[in-house]
């Protein structure tokens, strides 16, 4: 038995193709059409927006971290230069220069008249 039926193509049986296509497209269309969207109901409440926005929150956290890093570095560097432990490096020999040499080098130069 031949189960393959020729697709209607002549004007006489064109209704068959129409029927086939209509059935196909009907099967593709959503059976239950979604209700009208209500964008006016999704509007965020004024005042809560800032708190709810996670990107804003993370930006603040990043800014605070950077400020802390810079402030900490500055604070520590101030401590180190005021103390006594810093030593310079003599570039000529690759050896650390004695503190006195550095002190002399850093001392304000007196202007000659």
């Amino acid at each position: 038995m031949n189960t393959t039926t020729r697709i209607p193509n002549t004007p006489e049986d064109g209704a068959g193709l129409d029927q086939l296509l209509a059935a196909y497209f009907r099967s593709e269309m959503p059976t239950r059409w979604p209700a009208t969207p209500v964008p006016w109901a999704e509007k965020p409440q004024a005042g809560t927006n800032h708190v709810a926005n996670p990107s804003r929150k993370s930006r603040w956290a990043l800014a605070a971290s950077v400020a802390l890093l810079i402030g900490g570095g500055w604070y520590l560097s101030g401590h180190m230069t005021d103390g006594k432990t810093k030593q310079g490096l003599d570039l000529g020999t690759g050896e650390a220069a004695p503190p006195k040499v550095i002190k002399d080098h850093m001392a304000p130069k007196t202007k000659t008249p």
Partner: protein
Amino acid sequence: MKANPPAADRRRAEFETLYARHSREVWALAYARWMDADLALDIAQEAFLRLWKHWESADQDIQNPRAWLLRVARNLAEDYAKSSFRRNGTTPPQLMNGVRSREPLPLDQMEQSEAFARIRDTLEEMPPSDRELLTLRYALEYDAGHIAELLGINATAVHMRLSRARQRLADKLTAQGTTAIP
């Protein structure tokens, strides 16, 4: 400028009317582009949400919301090709997954589903413009005059292109030995 309550109500009513009248047309154009019913639904919803946003933000009114919606839907469908729709809009489901069944398929529907799968394959090989005509004709049951008005083309041209598209479909399906609807 903020709309006062009666104006806001009018706008909502207008929005609902537009959705009831034109959401299927918007869906049809998006469907014709990608042959994906769920993605087309997402695109249609996104187009309407953008219309609302435009109303809220823009000073100028849209003269022809139907044409605007169809244009936005077309652009969104094209954007999908560049994947920007994923980032800017809703997230569509997997694309081109073959024929999806919305209900369990008993054995007596197998033949029909095979025929539909072949129709789908054949439609995918056709130009999107032909698919637009076929979708509007068969999914929405629009006549040539209505399609012409929607697409802004001549009704005679719609007749000719529809006829050619049907002929091509029939030839391909016949060559594949597709069965008619059981």
